[in-house]
């Protein structure tokens, strides 16, 4: 294995395992409790009606897909996006901030190799987290005898990948542009949370519904996969975004100065009385 890739994977090893185990545990517990709580939830959602139910998912709680749509896949993309933002922001700029990038790039290695390794390790890490999380689904599902439900759920899992990789690449790009993973990550986190809220409310409002293509979270189609109505155009946009963001990250890293202030700056808030 390439020594740089090995090092990059090693750097992400701890985070990858703990995020994977954490999500797997959460999902495993959720699945394990499905038989006992599904009836209760179904009653509650019948009373709430479709519009309020839309806030927490469009699930049919008599099935495992519907149950997981509301209890896991409604928020898991945001939970995993936290990792994607943290790891994406740190992938390139983290090493610059730490000061180790100078020593690395002083070796006979190209910037292209460094950035490809960093972004590749990032994508691999997200894939491994999803694989570990999938184990948290598969193990309890064998015990509750719901194996026939795994097809759509597997698609929902796979659809995490383009969305989360796109989020990670966006975080990496913003961190490069601002020269700060905190600034870049904060902007992206704010956009994602706002999107999540508006996306959730859009089921109850026609205007918000019409703006769905604007919401970043719309591009995760996992919940739709559970209902069997994936909008593949959204998935295509995510895949195209990965290509564009990947190229943008590479070009920017090849051209810019290392470990100096970013290209973009947020306007500083002006305090009254300050000149």
């Amino acid at each position: 294995m390439d020594p740089l890739l090995k090092k990059a994977m090693r750097d992400l090893r701890g985070q990858t395992i703990w995020w994977g185990v954490g999500l797997a545990f959460l999902l495993g517990i959720t699945v394990a409790f499905f038989p006992s709580v599904s009836d209760i939830y179904s009653d509650i959602f019948e009373e709430l009606g479709d519009e309020w139910a839309g806030l927490v998912g469009d699930g049919d709680f008599s099935t495992l897909e519907g149950y997981l749509s509301a209890e896991f896949f409604s928020y898991a993309q945001i939970a995993l996006a936290v990792f994607a933002i943290l790891a994406g922001g740190a992938a390139i700029v983290g090493e610059e901030t730490q000061g180790t990038m100078d020593l690395l790039l002083a070796q006979p290695v190209s910037r292209l190799r460094v950035v490809l390794v960093k972004l590749g390790a990032l994508a691999a890490s997200i894939t491994i987290i999803l694989a570990i999380t999938a184990l948290g689904f598969l193990i309890p599902v064998l015990f509750i005898n719901e194996v026939n439900a795994t097809g759509r759920i597997a698609v929902a899992f796979l659809l995490f990948l383009p969305f989360e990789v796109a989020v990670a690449l966006t975080a990496a790009l913003l961190a490069q542009l601002f020269g700060s993973r905190v600034v870049g990550g904060s902007i992206l986190a704010g956009l994602l949370v706002a999107s999540y809220m508006l996306d959730a409310l859009s089921g109850a409002d026609a205007t918000l519904e019409s703006l769905r293509p604007v919401y970043l979270t719309s591009y995760y189609q996992g919940q739709q996969a559970l209902n069997g109505d994936v909008n593949w155009a959204y998935v295509g946009v995510s895949l195209a975004a990965i290509a564009v963001l990947g190229v943008a990250n590479v070009v920017l890293f090849l051209r810019r100065d290392i470990a100096v202030n970013g290209i973009l700056r947020l306007p500083k808030p002006r305090l009254r009385g300050s000149s």
Partner: protein
């Protein structure tokens, strides 16, 4: 064996950072193969910017630089096969064991590192290779950096303030190692703000200030003209003109009773010692020359760059020419 005509060629190299800060202004100089070249200047003079440009970590806004004839800023990493580097503000992966760090960087050089030499370096620097980097003191981290810079026995070794965090014994060991690698044909480009250290090891020295090259001198010339500060306490107050007319000596002040005399001397101090020998000398203190004093010795206060002095632009032939504004002390 290095056969190139120049190890480093700076050609009008300039760098202005975003926001307008001009860090380096038209640096032109040539470093010959096989020499130890000191790059001297106070903090903020542009030394680190110059080195980061050399390594293609940042890109010039004008001019260019080449290493052994190969341009440095075209994104081609092959030139760095011939370069070893120690950053000034060294950071090494804190969670890694020292030996793993060495293995990682050696693996990036694909067989260009002799294990025996690495072992020898670690032994001479008394470096614990089994420790984690985060457990090391600042000085020991610096030793790791020295090993990483020197282990490939590169044709060019670039060091940014290499001994800044080291104790005197380790400093001596590092300077010995540098002399040794130079003896094997390596060129050493060495930035520092410590004049005595540069004097001990360098063949030539360039002085930079405010991003501009002030001069290039052979080290013998720097030593012969350096300004030493002396404080002499005598048994009785000497005559007011006792030190007047001594070549290279200037009296800068006296204590209240006139027995404590403050002097500045450049070059030989033989005449001064002979005058002092006429008195009963109770104490003699000598301070090493500061970088600021070195500038003053060469150029006088008015010659320090203020922005428009054409005489401050660099050129290799400066090493052969006398300073434009000798102090005349």
């Amino acid at each position: 064996m290095v056969t190139d005509t120049s190890a480093i060629d700076f050609d009008g190299l300039s760098k202005t950072y975003r926001g307008g800060k001009r860090a380096l202004d038209a640096l032109t100089l040539t470093v010959a193969p096989g020499e130890i070249f000191g790059f001297l200047g106070p903090n903020g003079a542009g030394k680190t910017t110059t080195i980061r440009l050399l390594l293609d970590l940042i890109r010039p806004t004008a001019g260019g630089v080449s290493i052994f004839g190969q341009p440095c800023n075209d994104g081609d990493p092959t030139v760095r096969k011939r370069v070893g580097y120690l950053p000034g503000d060294l950071s090494v992966y804190p969670g890694m064991v020292v030996s793993s760090v060495i293995d990682l960087f050696a693996s990036l050089r694909k067989g260009g590192v002799r294990e025996v030499w690495v072992h020898e370096l670690c032994t001479r620097l008394e470096l614990d290779t089994g420790a984690k980097v985060r457990e090391l003191s600042h000085g020991n981290k610096q030793k790791v950096g020295v090993v990483l810079a020197v282990m490939a026995e590169s044709d060019l070794i670039i060091l940014d303030e290499p001994t800044s965090a080291l104790d005197p014994l380790a400093q001596r060991a590092v300077l010995e190692i540098l002399r040794e690698v130079r003896g094997r044909g390596s060129t050493v480009f060495f930035s520092s703000h410590n004049l005595p250290e540069v004097e001990r090891i360098c063949d030539r020295v360039a002085m930079v200030r405010q991003g501009r090259l002030v001069s290039i001198q052979r080290i013998e010339e720097v030593v012969s003209r350096r300004l030493t500060t002396l404080t002499v306490t005598l048994g009785e107050a000497p005559a007011t003109d006792a030190f007047v007319g001594l070549d290279g000596v200037r009296e800068t002040g006296r204590g209240a009773d006139g027995t404590e005399v403050h002097l500045e001397a450049s070059g030989e101090v033989d005449a001064l010692i002979k005058v002092l020998a006429r008195y009963r000398v109770l104490a003699l203190e000598s301070a090493p020359p500061s970088l600021e004093n070195a500038f003053l010795a060469f150029y006088g206060a008015d010659a320090l760059p203020s922005g428009d002095d054409d005489s401050l632009s660099g050129g290799n032939d400066h090493s052969q020419t006398p300073p434009k504004h000798p102090t005349g002390v």
